[in-house]
């Protein structure tokens, strides 16, 4: 079975470099804003190790606990992630 762990480095690439870009004048321009991605890979790799060793698990869970709407909690992290 191949490894299935989602790595933060893979995510980082996507969140920073991908996703929908709005091409309209309602957007605040990013020109002149230095890309924060360059050295971020190293930082993320460090955090990933922390997550692996459980150091950030509590923090992660508390963030998820916050994502509760009234008494209806968000679905847990589904294995497939797709609920459509």
């Amino acid at each position: 079975m191949p490894q299935t762990g989602a790595t933060l480095v893979d995510l980082l690439d996507r969140v920073l470099d991908r996703g929908v870009v709005i091409n309209a004048d309602i957007i605040i321009s990013l020109s002149g804003v230095p890309l924060i991605g360059i050295k971020l890979r190293a930082a993320i790799a460090g955090m990933e190790t922390m997550v692996q060793y459980g150091m950030m698990r509590d923090w992660d869970q508390s963030i998820r606990a916050n994502a509760t709407i009234g008494d209806r909690p968000l679905r847990g992290r589904a294995a497939s992630g797709i609920t459509a």
């Binding site: 079975m1 490894q3 969140v15 920073l16 991908r18 929908v20 230095p34 930082a43 916050n66």
Partner: protein, 272 residues
């Protein structure tokens, strides 16, 4: 398009009066029927809520009209992860999302960021809805195949007739000549391995891409020791095809000298 022409069906969580001059940081878009609040799960704990036009909603927070920038890498990593967590929460709740790129901010122009966003959702409604629908039941995965260069170098050395012939000649040469032969041998093996890499790449790409809806070739990352990344793909996969992809990856993983990494599922960041 003027706001008055948006008409009935437009609804949103009303902005706080003191945030009228604030920008709207947009995390993602989703097919959202009823306005909702997701709580303080945003970047730096900001309240995330929806701005909904007809059945299309944006997940946003109210914040200063400046892009996020910092030299503190840990802070930056926290922001990027927070962005993703909101997208993921929306993905789990509404099923399909169009994730925005990091630092997407709607400016507080004369009519305010809230109204600008609503107007934009109105103008783009149909095309955004079509894009959303195209991602229904699909997720992005990262597939990376690494190969053991030492293993394949040995294989080339054992099977390439030119390499074999040269190896036999080395023993009968003087020290100086043997050195030159060895240099030539190394170069032959290197070329053989490169040719093999090109073949393996084509073969792997073909095997993997036929198991997914769309495959996008990414740059490979730096090698770790004997293992070098041969293939790095972003794949858009229908939920029903995931078992088939995993079975194919298992077969690749069971090949000597190849190692597979599967990451995801994620919202379709690379296919928006």
């Amino acid at each position: 398009m003027s706001l008055s022409s948006i008409g009935p069906g437009t609804a949103s969580t009303a902005p706080e009066p003191d945030t009228e001059r604030a920008a709207r940081y947009v995390y993602c878009l989703a097919a959202i029927g009823e306005p909702a609040s997701l709580g303080a799960i945003g970047i730096e704990g900001r309240e995330v809520y929806t701005v909904v036009h007809r059945s299309l909603g944006a997940l946003v927070h109210d914040g200063p009209p400046r892009p996020y920038e910092t030299r503190d890498q840990e802070q930056a990593a926290g922001w990027v992860l927070a962005h993703h967590r909101v997208v993921e929460a929306a993905w789990q709740r509404w099923g399909t999302v169009l994730p925005m790129t990091f630092n997407t901010l709607i400016a507080p122009a004369e009519k305010g960021a809230h109204d600008s966003l609503l107007a934009w959702l109105g103008t783009e409604h149909d095309s955004l809805k079509r894009r959303l629908d195209a991602f229904a039941g699909k997720a992005e995965y990262g597939v990376q195949v690494s190969w053991n260069t030492a293993h394949f170098a040995r294989q080339v050395a054992q099977t390439d007739p030119e390499v074999n012939a040269l190896e036999k000649q080395i023993g009968s040469q003087s020290r100086g000549l043997a050195y030159m032969y060895r240099q030539r041998l190394e170069s032959l093996v290197r070329k053989g391995v490169e040719a093999r890499a090109a073949l393996e790449f084509k073969e792997l790409y073909s095997r993997i891409s036929q198991c997914v809806d769309q495959a996008r070739i990414e740059k490979t990352r730096v090698a770790e020791g004997e293992w070098a990344m041969l293939l790095n793909l972003s794949c858009l996969v229908s939920v029903g095809r995931v078992p088939g992809l995993k079975a194919q990856l298992d077969r690749i993983e069971s090949t000597d000298g190849l190692s597979v990494r599967l990451a995801g599922p994620w919202p379709p960041y690379s296919f928006c």
